[in-house]
Symmetry: C2
Subunit: 308 residues, 2 copies
């Protein structure tokens, strides 16, 4: 079954083909990302930025942004520059997290990490370049959206990646490595900031671009927080249960590093159960939107069902 | 002599007290920077960001932004969040440039560099946090400026720091280290991107915030490009002629690293002469604004006169 834009909203939940939906959206996002960053002089920095930006991945953040923009009555075109910016920010955080001074990872998405190919200096700069470009891209490329909405989106994205978001989560995470008595509230802080903050920004920014009401934004915020935490719990479980081939990155790393994870508190079965509850909670937040929420409902289910 | 806001514009060029002007503006900028970034949990990342952001420095970029906003009919208040953002971006570039993987510097502004105090991981994250916060700060804190002007400012700043600006300049600079036959055009590229791009964004963003005309913005752009290059030439000269105490950072480093510099092409005397010509050119661009341009005229002169 091939799903074309616009038609999927009229289908029943049971008929909604998430696989086809995600594949179609992923293709659009890949094309937009590819166009967003042509290679000019000095070529190496653009090659380094593109190497990680176009290294595949689920494109979950851009797809969420496009989906909530449509849900709130906007178009894919209105949200695409922001969707691309979200992926640039996410990629920047991966490049910097993988550096020797941080998590020191050699593989990411089944490929050598950025610094293994381009060296540490260029990898640091590629991250900086992607972060700066994300904001420029939104400001320059967004069409048919009032500037005051764009300012709200920029504020949200800045917050999601800075010390009140990704960066703050990563700092606490680094401090906890090898520490045996990490508390549950610390683990929650780490993931609320490292993972959930940018997912929340992805979901909410699409709605802001479309001019959604405060009530809608609050519902979508709760949806995103629930799927954000569920996503991290499943990630922790997959680190234990997956093979490197399935996951495309080093596995069992959390265990070896004695990292606090949800399975280390709850065990694997209870972790899966908690993730499932969060997904149900997320779906109940958006169930009132009917067919318009089918993509968000299916994406929530997909989080617990995924194996990589 | 004490210069208070507003009064200095009525003075003759010969009477304009740049020292007092800079001191008064610096004090305002320091206070705004201090307020911009309170320390909350996780404290260490905010401490690391503040350590470098509040480590002194001339605050030339914020002061230029405030000056052109006033020149174009705006107020200090309109420009202050952008002025602070410019210093956050500048600070981020210094923190990352000083990293072991980059220039590997131990001292900056007379103090130990960020990674020498907080470690490499936190230093990388502090830079990321400052860069993200710069955009958030403009979007959240700017008052009484239409959102479409703010979008233009965000686009300019993003460009000035990304691969088309600072990051691109630093990549080329890294490649030229230890290379003996660096061409003059490559050296110009490095400095147009590493130094001049952010100075240009500083000058132009103030004018955009005030709603300046395209003609004014073009004049100010040429002013900023001239002082940007002059600034770098003087920096290169000072690296040779200053003592570490005067400069507050390691000196003679360019020579030891066999870095291409303007004095290595022209010698010290010719470099000083070229810088002086650029300063005259910069001043001629803004001479038509009369007394309103006194701060910009004096700042241009200050660049060649400075000893640190």
């Amino acid at each position: 079954m091939v799903v074309t834009d616009g038609t999927h909203f009229s289908k029943q939940a049971s008929q909604f083909d998430l696989h086809a939906y995600l594949a179609a959206r992923q293709e659009k996002v890949e094309a937009a990302l590819d166009r967003s960053l042509p290679i000019i002089y000095p070529e190496q920095i653009y090659e380094a930025m593109r190497y990680s930006l176009l290294a595949g991945g689920k494109r979950l953040r851009p797809i969420l942004c496009l989906a909530t923009c449509e849900l709130a009555g906007g178009t894919i075109e209105m949200a695409m520059p922001t969707a691309c910016a979200l992926e640039m920010i996410h990629t920047m955080s991966l490049i910097h997290d993988d550096l020797p001074a941080m998590d020191d990872d050699d593989y990411r998405r089944g490929k050598l990490t950025n610094h293994k190919i381009f060296g540490e200096a260029v990898a640091i700069l590629a991250g900086d370049g992607l972060l700066a470009y994300a904001f420029e891209h939104i400001a320059v490329e967004t069409q048919a959206v009032p500037a005051d909405r764009l300012m709200k989106v920029i504020a949200r994205l800045g917050r999601a990646v800075g010390a009140a978001g990704l960066v703050g989560g990563q700092v606490v995470d680094l401090h906890c490595e090898g520490v045996c008595d990490v508390k549950m509230e610390t683990l929650n802080f780490i993931h609320a900031h490292k993972t959930a903050a940018l997912l929340e920004a992805s979901v909410v920014s699409g709605a802001i671009l479309a001019g959604a009401s405060d009530t809608d934004i609050q519902k979508l915020t709760r949806y995103s927080q629930a799927i954000g935490l569920a996503f991290q719990i499943v990630d922790d479980v997959l680190d234990i249960t997956s093979t490197q081939e399935e996951l495309g990155k080093s596995v069992g790393k959390d265990l070896r590093a004695q990292k606090a994870t949800y399975p280390s508190f709850w065990g694997i079965d209870e972790s899966k159960k908690q993730a499932q509850q969060l997904v149900e909670q997320a779906k109940s937040e958006v169930s009132g939107y009917g067919d318009r929420a089918l993509p968000l409902m299916a994406i929530a289910d997909f989080i617990t069902a995924r194996t990589h």
